[in-house]
Amino acid sequence: MKTYYLYLIALVVIIAGCSKDPTAPPVSNDHSPATTVILTLVRMDLSGMPLDTTSCTVRDTSVIKGKLPIEGKLSLQAGSVYKGFLTLLDESQSPVKDITSSIIAEKDAHQFRFSVKENSLPSSAVVISDLDKDSKGLDFGLNFKATTSIIAKPSIGLIHITLEHHDDGNKAGSQFDTDLDRDFPFILP
């Protein structure tokens, strides 16, 4: 049994030898998924000049802690025409990184879809139209036109935006991943 004890000691030495701390390796995270989407509406006059701007920000609260999931409300005016656009950010990085260009690079595989609701019912208080196109002339929707109803009626509602990711580029197809599915609240005084 003497040899055996010798090896027991040897094993302890091995464990000690093997258990030197490996250098703490960093988790790389250079490649950003969006954490935040900003919807901006710019009110235009008849000649196409900007008058004022309103925006609403939504966040992924599973990634961004300590900030509001929805920040700001779209404050709209009746009977107006807006130029609308979306901005995608990665707020997990410091400084915050604008990654809108990465979705533009993949616009042939993506489409933003819009619907407007008041009290969970379809509404025509805001009409979204004139979605910008991808390289094949299909709707993309990062930039669009929003028109508010001429009848000034106080209302509170939601602009619901989804982003469909169609790998095959067939934007009418039903096989897609949803990359965005959120509500942006608005008020019409």
Partner: protein
């Protein structure tokens, strides 16, 4: 690599040191011949074993065998050969060193696919039930994955993620709850993932042993639900060169697979070597109705072994590389819950697919390299000393459906995550000589591991593990009783590295615990035996259970780990009753596994708001759980030419804390196989036809509100196969086997298939298996 270097250096050094410190003694060699008792023809390939020292041999040309270097004393000598009754007698050395063994042909023609409990198994205690899949059975059932072969065992099922990813499930337990031993070392991959299958080439193994229930004493932390041990074939022990070529074809996914093995012996047979390489390429699989998009896969594997033995010393070094690219069904990745609901509502793929060999994202790219060094030395005064070192490098890259490109100019898609796991292990054991009627094994083991990953989105933090264990297993044999007991102590320290975005601190936690077992076997008569075991084991919570925090896109769930989880403790009881009659052979096993601190994901009934909408939150929780069941099988031999095997298994899984069934437990199932042995026709020898049916009930026990869809309907599948052997030379026969699985092309979904929500399982599959041995070694 530093880790490898340190461990292997020491292992090699200690081997030399050890060999040098030996003192020579003169043990006895046993020689003999095995023949058929009726025809007196020599039997080549009979298995010979000496108990209790577990040393054995195989009869070679002219039925001759040699078992070298046995210390003087009393032993039980056992000879086994397929189609013959086992032979057993007491011998005393040096008196009985020359043996002439006559084996009686069985009254029944055993099919060459013996699934039997083997008490002399390497796996565990003598009283425990282990199940052995022999080379012959593997040849008949070798499928596209390791899991396919394991499914033939009663009580073992698989957790499928499409046709290419198959994880073995023992009594409803899988992943980090079972240990897979490959070439003597515990396979270390990212086994916590339900879609991470064991990285083992089905062609590289020649036999499989399965131990159901906890085996913590012999296998340490983690072997809480069972052990699967895969073995490579023995190295040649005589001078020569030989090998075999194996080819498999599968119609369903137009898969071709082939393996070439070359082996030889040199220096009077003291050195044996082998080199093996295999390749596999499969395209999309199909259900009875449609193609499954992006389910192709490919593999390129190789292995090399060299062994040296002289006198009481044996040593072996093994290296294997496993490389695969696996396509994951395109419709199984979901952006949000609505996507999942759309896929479920459609009930079939949302877009039509065709056959292709092309693999796109989502996909997995895995490389697994394994080095294993083993040496043993028999000290006549003390027993057999063994040392086993292992080093493994597991690289896993998973790609999403969408291509992500790095910010630089490179156009290579980058993986959604990439994990590199490096593991080293060392184990030393002494199988001591019998002390009176007691024999057993004492040992110590150590492991070290580190995992480094990078990912686009958070998956798990980096971690490292160090562990050590000390154990002893002793067996007392008296008359018709065997008693067995074992005890083990393990300590395992896990360090997690800083990851700021998820508030993972740089921290260490140490787990320690005791595993133990007691068992007894009572050989009531020559035909009847009864055995029972009690055992306990534990496992440390795995890294995902502690630190998960994110959306699982296969299930559209937001999973949150619990950093305060305690080790999971399991207690197992089993009893086995065996009866071997003249026309029947039956075995009934009952078991109960109780878990204190069973870790599972529980719906928390809250949601988390991401950009993709709200996801239901599932949290890792610990509860008391019970898994109990029955595995029963019987073989009926009506005539010499016909045999029927029946097997049923039933399992009950209950979350005792919540008083509800456990999720995803295998449904009750039964199997019938009719084996017809046909006479030789000209050059076609050992012909057989086999017709089988498998019946799986609907799982009626599942947690309410714990799943998206209730379990699928019951189903029945039928298979046929036929095989023959054609002599191609004096020593060699070509082995040919053609089988049709799911012969009626039945549309079905198994409860244990992770894609059952949205697509069916695979349809009819015609499989052809061909094996051609060549060279100087006769077929075994």
């Amino acid at each position: 690599m530093i880790l490898l270097y340190r461990c292997s250096c020491f292992a090699v050094a200690s081997l030399f040191l050890f060999a040098w410190s030996l003192n020579a003694q003169m043990p006895v060699n046993i020689r003999g011949t095995v023949v058929d008792s009726v025809t007196k023809h020599p039997l080549v390939g009979a298995t010979l074993e000496l108990l209790p020292i577990q040393k054995g041999s195989i009869s070679r040309k002219k039925g001759v065998f040699v078992i070298d270097e046995i210390p003087e004393g009393k032993y039980t000598f056992i000879a086994k050969y397929i189609g013959y009754d086992s032979f057993s007698r007491q011998i005393e050395l040096p008196k009985d060193s020359v043996l002439f063994i006559m084996l009686e042909p069985s009254s029944v023609l055993m099919k060459p696919t013996v699934v039997e409990s083997d008490r002399t198994s390497e796996l565990g205690a003598a009283t425990k039930q282990t199940i052995h899949i022999t080379t012959a059975e593997l040849d008949e059932h070798r499928g596209q994955t390791l899991g396919d072969a394991l499914k033939t065992i009663n009580g073992v099922t698989t957790l499928q993620t499409g046709p290419s990813i198959s994880k073995p499930v023992i009594h409803g337990l899988h992943s980090q709850r079972i240990t897979v031993m490959n070439a003597g070392v515990a396979q270390e991959g990212q086994q916590w993932g339900a879609e991470h299958a064991p990285e083992i080439d089905p062609f590289s193994i020649s036999s499989i042993e399965v131990l159901k229930g906890s085996a913590g004493v012999e296998y340490g932390v983690g072997a809480i639900g069972g052990v699967i041990r895969v073995e490579q074939r023995e190295l040649p022990t005589s001078i020569g060169i030989g090998g075999e070529f194996t080819a498999n074809g599968f119609s369903n996914n137009r898969q071709g697979a082939g393996s070439l093995l070359i082996e030889g012996g040199a220096f009077g047979g003291s050195v044996g070597w082998r080199a093996q390489a295999s390749a596999r390429k499969a395209g999309n699989s199909q259900t009875s109705d449609y193609w499954m998009a992006n389910t192709g896969f490919e593999e390129l594997n190789s292995s090399a072994t060299i062994g040296y033995s002289a006198g009481n010393f044996t040593s072996k070094a093994y290296y294997s590389h496993f490389g695969t690219t696996l396509g994951i069904y395109l419709g199984s990745h979901f952006g949000n819950q609505d996507d999942l609901y759309r896929a479920i509502a459609a009930g079939k793929p949302l877009t039509d697919a065709d056959f292709t060999y092309t693999i796109n994202g989502p996909k997995q790219e895995i490389a697994h390299d394994l080095w294993s060094v083993h040496a043993s030395y028999r000290m006549p005064s003390l027993g057999k000393f063994e040392i086993q070192g292992g080093y493994q490098l597991n690289s896993r890259k998973e790609f999403d459906a969408r291509k992500r490109y790095s910010d630089s100019v490179s156009s290579t898609p980058i993986p959604a995550f990439s994990l590199n796991l490096e593991s080293g292990s060392l184990e030393m054991k002494l199988h001591h000589n019998p002390i009176g009627s007691v024999n057993g094994t004492v040992g110590i083991s150590a492991v070290a591991q580190q995992n480094v990953g990078s990912s686009l989105t958070y998956l798990i933090p980096n971690f490292s593990v160090q562990g050590a264990g000390i154990f002893a297993v002793e067996t007392y044999t008296t008359g018709e009783m065997i008693f067995n007991t074992g005890l083990r102590f393990d300590v395992r320290s896990q360090r997690t590295y800083l990851y700021i975005p998820k508030n993972v601190p740089d921290s260490s936690v140490t787990y320690s615990g005791i595993s133990g077992s007691v068992g007894a076997l009572w050989q009531i008569s020559k035909q009847i035996s009864l055995s029972s075991n009690l055992s306990t084991a534990f496992r440390a919570p795995s890294i995902n259970e502690l630190y998960s925090e994110g959306v699982h896109h296969g299930t559209a769930q937001y999973e949150v780990g619990d950093r305060t989880l305690k080790p999971e403790r399991g207690y197992s009881w089993d009893a086995n009753f065996k009866i071997n009659g003249y026309h029947t052979s039956s075995e009934i096993g009952v078991y109960a596994h109780y878990f204190d601190g069973f870790i599972y994901t529980k719906p928390s009934l809250t949601t988390i708001l991401t950009l993709r909408g709200a996801f239901p939150v599932f949290q890792y929780r610990q509860v008391e759980a019970l898994i109990a069941g029955i595995d029963a099988n019987t073989s009926l031999f009506f005539t010499d030419y016909f045999r029927t095997d029946l097997a049923v298994s039933w399992l009950f899984g209950q979350n005792l804390s919540a008083n509800e069934p456990l999720l995803q437990m295998p449904a009750p199932r039964g199997k019938i196989t009719n084996h017809f042995h046909l006479p030789n026709i000209g050059m076609f020898l050992h012909n057989y036809v086999e017709i089988g049916g498998q019946f799986v009930a609907r799982q009626m026990r599942f947690p309410i509100n714990g799943d998206y869809v209730s379990p699928p309907a019951s189903y029945a599948l039928f298979d046929v196969s036929a095989g023959t052997e054609i002599p191609v030379s004096e020593f060699h026969k070509l082995h040919l086997n053609i089988g049709i699985q799911n012969i009626f092309n039945k549309d079905y979904r198994d409860y244990m298939s992770r894609f059952r929500y949205f697509i069916s399982d695979t349809g009819m599959n015609v499989i052809m298996r061909l094996r051609i041995p060549f060279g100087e070694y006769p077929d075994e």
